[in-house]
């Protein structure tokens, strides 16, 4: 099965999630009637799934796991005694020992981890678009499209009978 040549770019954009809502809607209508384009899209998705499976095989360490491993190591290093005087390690050891005397090392580590996670949550969190802006719609006999809201806007499009220059051109 071969995809329609004029749809190839749209199929790739759809697969990459780069197609706008209206274009996606039109392409999905076309896919419902075109086995060639459906097969091409399925092939793209199979390639994507294989690539993602490969990526998932590489585990990424969790931040807390890293801290949990590092803290006992630091304690052990302090318990083992000071390194040779005057070295950078000796200065670090002295600092750690001072903190450890007040039992602050782990709380600081926990607080730092919480702060890092929270800061990441605040900085990286996408602002969600509002849900359910359009509660009900009646096109009074006309086809009406409601495009998914983004953060700033919701688009409602009343289609003109028979298409024409009032509505966007096909893909």
């Amino acid at each position: 099965m071969i995809a329609c040549p004029q749809r190839v770019a749209a199929l790739h954009a759809h697969h990459d999630g780069e197609l706008g809502a209206f274009s996606r809607w039109r392409l999905e209508r076309h896919l419902a009637t075109c086995p060639g384009c459906r097969a091409s899209l399925a092939a793209l998705e199979a390639i994507g799934d294989a690539a993602r499976a490969q990526a998932d095989a590489i585990a990424s360490p969790d931040l807390w796991d890293l801290l949990a491993v590092r803290l006992p190591e630091l304690d052990a290093a302090i318990d083992a005694g000071p390194p040779a005087r005057g070295t950078r390690a000796a200065r670090l050891w002295a600092g750690l020992a001072g903190l450890r005397g007040r039992q602050l090392m782990k709380p600081i580590g926990v607080a730092a981890a919480v702060a890092a996670v929270a800061a990441g949550f605040l900085l990286l969190r996408p602002v969600a678009p509002p849900d359910h802006v359009v509660r009900a719609v009646d096109g009074e006999g006309h086809v009406v499209m409601v495009l998914p809201s983004d953060r700033d806007a919701t688009i409602i499009w009343v289609m003109d009978d028979g298409g024409g220059s009032g509505d966007p051109a096909p893909l």
């Binding site: 709380p107 607080a111 003109d160 220059s165």
Partner: protein, 167 residues
């Protein structure tokens, strides 16, 4: 006899837990405030009895032509999905309406746009919008969220109405 070091170790976790709890509470409060703002929640003094609606009426066309600088924001919104090449602002006004009051705007096509803010909810303004003979809709619009309505064919293009509550 309990060694001094053990005693200090017993108190420190309590202090650290308290500090961590305070830190977490502060971060959660900081996270909650913008979330409520983004959701278009009502101001702390309670919902107002009147709302303002910014109404725009535009003509968009696929024919090459100028893009009205005042419609640049609309062009950005439509660019992803539509291929209009010229945009004119035909009308722009601000309706100051009481809740339950109906405001009307005459469109260049001869139809009438009716808007009726009903109440202010946690997630935005409940309102009804009607373009006679074309569309009747019930909306819940967060404050300063824009609703773009492609209303009808007009002069080889399309009339596009924008509504944005400001309360």
């Amino acid at each position: 006899m309990i060694p001094r070091r053990s005693s200090a170790a017993g108190r420190a976790p309590l202090r650290s837990r308290g500090a961590a709890a305070l830190l977490l509470a502060g971060l959660l409060a900081a996270a909650a405030a913008p979330a409520q703002e983004a959701a278009g929640g009502p101001p702390r003094d309670g919902p107002p009895a009147r709302v303002a609606l910014e109404i725009g009426v535009h003509h968009v066309s696929q024919r090459p032509g100028p893009v009205d600088p005042a419609a640049e924001a609309l062009v950005q919104k439509l660019r992803e999905d539509f291929r209009y090449q010229s945009v004119r602002v035909l009308d722009r006004r601000r309706l100051d309406l009481a809740l339950g009051e109906t405001g009307t705007v005459d469109l260049p096509s001869g139809r009438r746009l009716k808007v009726k803010p009903r109440r202010i909810g946690e997630n935005g303004l409940f309102m009804r919008v009607e373009i006679e003979g074309r569309l009747r809709t019930s909306l819940q619009v967060p404050n300063h969220h824009q609703v773009v309505i492609g209303a009808e064919r007009h002069e080889e293009g399309k009339l596009v109405v924008t509504l944005e509550p400001d309360y």
